[in-house]
Subunit: 373 residues, 2 copies
């Protein structure tokens, strides 16, 4: 049995369950009244994504697509959507959660009397779950589905995770492994002295900062998301930002991938635009690595990594994102990288000194408030 | 400053430092006496790997290769080896550790007066570090170098990590993130009631067992290594096995990759044969997924994943490993998979029930001691 910490989980589950039952009832009503059963699914495409300038986040528009049962193009998807809705109902009833892969397997079977499988690969299954998220206006966590856990946290905060009190000041060299579901009914914040969050791209860079006790010296929380941060990590950062008022300062690579990670943390992504209100952190700041750092920090030529054609293409695409387009600082930054003709990783600062990044670079930039936002 | 927990780190560092200085002195002596400077590096190849049947582990033979400075083929590697030795000396003196990528960057620079870089890619750098490990007979941890952190742990044990006491019974849904360096001077074991360790392949499967509080009901420790477990995870499992006498029970996929992961946990790998004595766990057991499970558990056809030509090739290679070759149970197991013609993932058991794996499958097999070893 999953351990439940308070009443709010039961309430949330009842709400989600009600939505699934209503969906099923609507379908059964259409069927019994002789009408063709069909689903209406909000579309998760770039064309149905709206940039909300005022809020500073990407949002989903109100476009929808019909998914009728009696259409060869959509019949299979109709069946898949209903199967997943049924699995989720079972999960909620059992008070359990499942991985994306688990949900895929739960629904995967050979249709009786045929050689046809309900699902062949997980690639078919994950989008159907996202369809259900938007159709039910329920988040993946509310559907009891989790992704791979990824990322770690240490710092001046105590949290409660499923009733266990976790003091992130005393997590040794490993840290607290960020779970995929971090909603308030699972994770609560307790004592927090930290004044900001330093979020770094990679676990190895996180190790450098943790070993140098950066979070202790600078009274902060230190996180990483093992590359592109997964939903759990983004959601936790947003909650720390909104509920505790902690600024999020990012230290990412000086390349289009680093810029993209920042834009996702800050404004959300197209595929998860329906989730932006609970994932995006419009106040997030980009401290570095900056294109100017090669000269400013006096780095050796060997740290340069040539931009590929694809990098240049990606950089131009990112510069044209509506949320970067009107931002002089970012236009200058991306142009400076293109003019350099090379990219740089956070690790390149180690050529100055093992702890240059944690003891000189970041402290200096923090003091000067030298960042892009 | 890195936090040091006891005197033994200083002693270990002094030993490693002495080895590096002796290496440098030997080179300088050759040079000053007019002889050609050269290094002698133990070879890490299959042909220099010996299967120690008695110990049940792979070991490195005593073959070595010379690496002279005045040879176009080896001059660059000679220089790279000396550069990395110098970086490691700096790391040890500073009492700091670095990632593999960090060490690469530390040594990466353009040779003065040329357009030539000391290193171009990390692919050149990592093997040089392994050369140094074997040449100095010092482990990567002793060289102050870590890999990416990977894997999590929960269960009935309290550990001390860099002086922080971590109660793995109270780690919520996230767990304790396994660090890369888990030597006794960093991590000590305190109170442990657990009677065994259940090691699963993936984080998502680990979530299932953690959510069902498997470790509490069965008084054990629950770990995963996010796929092929990294050194830190393997070393921690070995220490728990050797120092606390805990059996290691593995739940991996029924495919050549799962079998390979098991063989690495159990007997070590060719590329790290020099490390087997501190990584391999000859007593490790393979509980499942077994080829017989499709029939025995009554699974649906849809969970079958066809074996590819490459899978079949890998299965035959693994069956011919000396440590599997003489094992009737494993010969039968691999043959059964080939006869099935398909592989199965741990997640396929979810088609029975969400918690079938944690509440029926593993408990039944544990009770019947139904495993391969």
């Amino acid at each position: 049995m999953a351990k439940k910490t308070n009443q709010s989980i039961a309430e949330r589950d009842a709400r989600t369950q009600k939505k699934i039952v209503e969906l099923a009832q609507a379908i059964s009503k259409m069927t019994l009244s002789g009408r063709e059963p069909q689903l209406s699914i909000p579309t998760r495409t770039k064309s149905n994504t709206v940039w909300n300038r005022k809020k500073g986040i990407l949002e989903m528009g109100d476009g929808t697509a019909d998914r009728p049962l009696f259409d060869l193009k959509t019949a299979k998807q109709f069946m898949q959507t209903m199967l997943h809705a049924s699995t989720i109902k079972d999960l909620i009833e059992a008070g359990k959660t499942s991985s994306l892969r688990g949900v895929f397997y739960k629904a995967k079977h050979t249709v009786a009397g045929t050689k046809e499988n309900t699902f062949d690969t997980q690639d078919e299954s994950d989008p159907i779950l996202e369809d259900l998220e938007v159709a039910l206006a329920a988040l993946r966590e509310e559907l009891h589905v989790f992704a791979e856990n990824r990322g770690s946290m240490v710092g001046n905060i105590t949290i409660v995770d499923k009733g266990d009190e976790i003091d992130c000041r005393r997590m040794g060299s490993g840290g607290y492994a960020l779970p995929s579901i971090v909603e308030p009914d699972v994770i609560q914040f307790k004592k927090c002295e930290a004044k900001f969050i330093l979020h770094v791209e990679k676990g190895t860079v996180w190790n450098r900062f943790n070993e140098d006790r950066f979070w202790e010296k600078h009274n902060c929380i230190l996180t990483h998301g093992a590359g592109q941060p997964p939903r759990g990590c983004r959601r936790l950062l947003q909650r720390l930002n909104q509920e505790l008022g902690l600024p999020i300062i990012c230290v990412l690579d000086n390349d289009p991938w680093g810029h993209y990670i920042y834009s996702v943390i800050k404004q959300g992504s197209i595929s998860l635009a329906f989730e932006s209100t609970r994932l995006a952190i419009p106040e997030a700041k980009f401290l570095g690595i900056r294109a100017k750092d090669f000269r400013q920090c006096g780095l050796d030529d060997a740290v340069k990594i040539d931009l590929t054609d694809n990098d240049i293409k990606r950089a131009r695409e990112i510069a044209a994102y509506p949320w970067f387009e009107g931002h002089k600082g970012w236009q200058k930054e991306i142009q400076a990288m293109l003019t350099n003709g090379f990219k740089m990783e956070v690790e390149s600062l180690i050529t100055k000194d093992i702890s240059y990044v944690s003891e000189v670079y970041v402290p200096e930039r923090l003091k000067a408030k030298d960042w892009l936002d």
